[in-house]
Symmetry: C2
Subunit: 376 residues, 2 copies
Amino acid sequence: MNFKLVKSDDKSSARAGFIETDHGTIETPIFMPVGTAGTVKGIHQRDIKEDINADIILGNTYHLYLRPGLEIIEKAGGLHKFNAWNRPILTDSGGYQVYSLADRRKLTEEGVLFHSHIDGSRHSFSAENVIETQRIIGADIMMAFDECTPYPCDYDYAKKSMEITHNWLKRCMIRFDETEPKYGYQQSLFPIVQGSTYRDLRKFSAETIASHNSDGNAIGGLSVGEPHELMYEMTELVCGILPHDKPRYLMGVGTPENILESIALGIDMFDCVMPTRNGRNGMLFTKNGIINIKNKKWQDDFSLIDDEGNSFVDQQYTKAYLRHLFVAKEMLGGMIASLHNLSFYLWLVRESRKHIIEGDFSEWKGKMIINVSQRL
Amino acid sequence: MNFKLVKSDDKSSARAGFIETDHGTIETPIFMPVGTAGTVKGIHQRDIKEDINADIILGNTYHLYLRPGLEIIEKAGGLHKFNAWNRPILTDSGGYQVYSLADRRKLTEEGVLFHSHIDGSRHSFSAENVIETQRIIGADIMMAFDECTPYPCDYDYAKKSMEITHNWLKRCMIRFDETEPKYGYQQSLFPIVQGSTYRDLRKFSAETIASHNSDGNAIGGLSVGEPHELMYEMTELVCGILPHDKPRYLMGVGTPENILESIALGIDMFDCVMPTRNGRNGMLFTKNGIINIKNKKWQDDFSLIDDEGNSFVDQQYTKAYLRHLFVAKEMLGGMIASLHNLSFYLWLVRESRKHIIEGDFSEWKGKMIINVSQRL
């Protein structure tokens, strides 16, 4: 994997670049649609590629490990073959979902014991086996095993958790070096900075992570309920320490505003369920603001969903029709909103990239944040 | 509306033809995907057109009347404008859904009083107002108001119900003649033969319906639980009476086998929720038989869904992946199965048409019925 910087912004820490993988090139900054169980909910792979034109999608190790399970994925020849997606895939390590979804989990130095949220069956994730799992899934970018601390989190717990995460990272890297890709293309491993909202922990964690000289680096444990200002403060601090010449991935972020602010702080990669999950609940993100399409005010608005939008759905369906689909609880409603939102998120990062390259990112960002944050 | 016969089969009553409407030509025999509330569930209009290439879709008057309601549809400029479908649309009269869905309904000579299954609100359908409603919806083909008798149905009730249906038809036709299309294109009205499974009632009803010399004629009250042989017997009897030079529509039918047999009896038009509803439950219809994709046997079958299929989904996704989507209850599962099934149904009627024209329909049908009916 190679990362090349194309341009750094003069008035902010924003950067434009690209990541080269064996499954193709990813232009940064990038937003990665979340394909939890090997599918971006409600969207055909063809449309993720041809309509949204996403350079990379995510898979969730926890979900894929439970269903369809590693045996099936390995027999298929990896996740790319299994779900018919031939561009890059990033998988998380499973740690976050173990904490947010699994039943009766128990954290030890060794790893995490948990019961499946689906059938109660008993499983364990460790630094070593999540690497092996991601080798089987065949992600182009694998993530190290970490604990994502909640917010608020007391200092002592945040420190201890960070130390466990650092220890797990060492073990992940050893197992990563001991193992080979299974399907003939390269895989990279990104470590994750933790440390909750404590400056000294974040600084120490970022220095530790930076010292490993990995292909890319991630920031975890943010966007978990803390005030946005605190998230930006931690992101800025960590971006100042992480290597300049490697991509930086801010995990689980966020709103359009969060993404623009974080690009300005030096983030290159984002993922979030917001465009699809909120889309399925009738929330549309547009360059002019946020629409709750279920509101009665849209019931006889026969204007296009987004006449400046890039997705075919923007030019095909009206707001009144989309509202009707949500009121009638029709599948097509969530399908349209998900496509629209992801298309908008990809537009947002591509437009950011364009303005970084053209040199007017900061001015553009200032105006755009006002627009995208308002309620229509 | 014009109907032109291209070819009649020598060894059966099958016919190939086409129906010309102001929204385009419909090649017959045709299968019409059901778009209940203005959406064929789980499929983008673009894909109904470009992937399935359906010549016409259905809308359900009962559903559209309740949601989004006539005011919205009229403001939109009719259903075609509202749901962005510019090919022909057929609407039923609402009678069937009033009986299968609405609460506390009461049938009188005048019409039906009922309470909405959505919010309990009180409504009435009459011969006159369902015509007005379908004028507002703007269907290219409107259906007369009828009562669809259940199976079994005692003779006296079937006779009385048929008489009411005939009486309603007269009133429908008067109101149809008194009113004009609202949106600048022609609308046709199809009457419906009833009479349950009684030969004398079906004969009388078919003669009554035939006497009106409508643009097309429908057969209702079948495929409601009666043995298939009885359905075919009634269909054959009625097709022998309905005009040869007008399209014949067998409402709510059916399985691939039902469709092939009914084409052989002289039916030109079909609709059924089976390809989409059963698709959402994991049942796939193929030219080699029926697949329950949830079965464990498909879990590691990495062959394409249907390597001879016409839909892009057939060539993109594997059976193992589709099974995984159903097991994980992912939206994409129902989306794929619905597209596949409709694509197969359209293939089936088009292939029938081709063989009718080529003169070997009966031989082909005999072989195909064995294939499509088996369980894989």
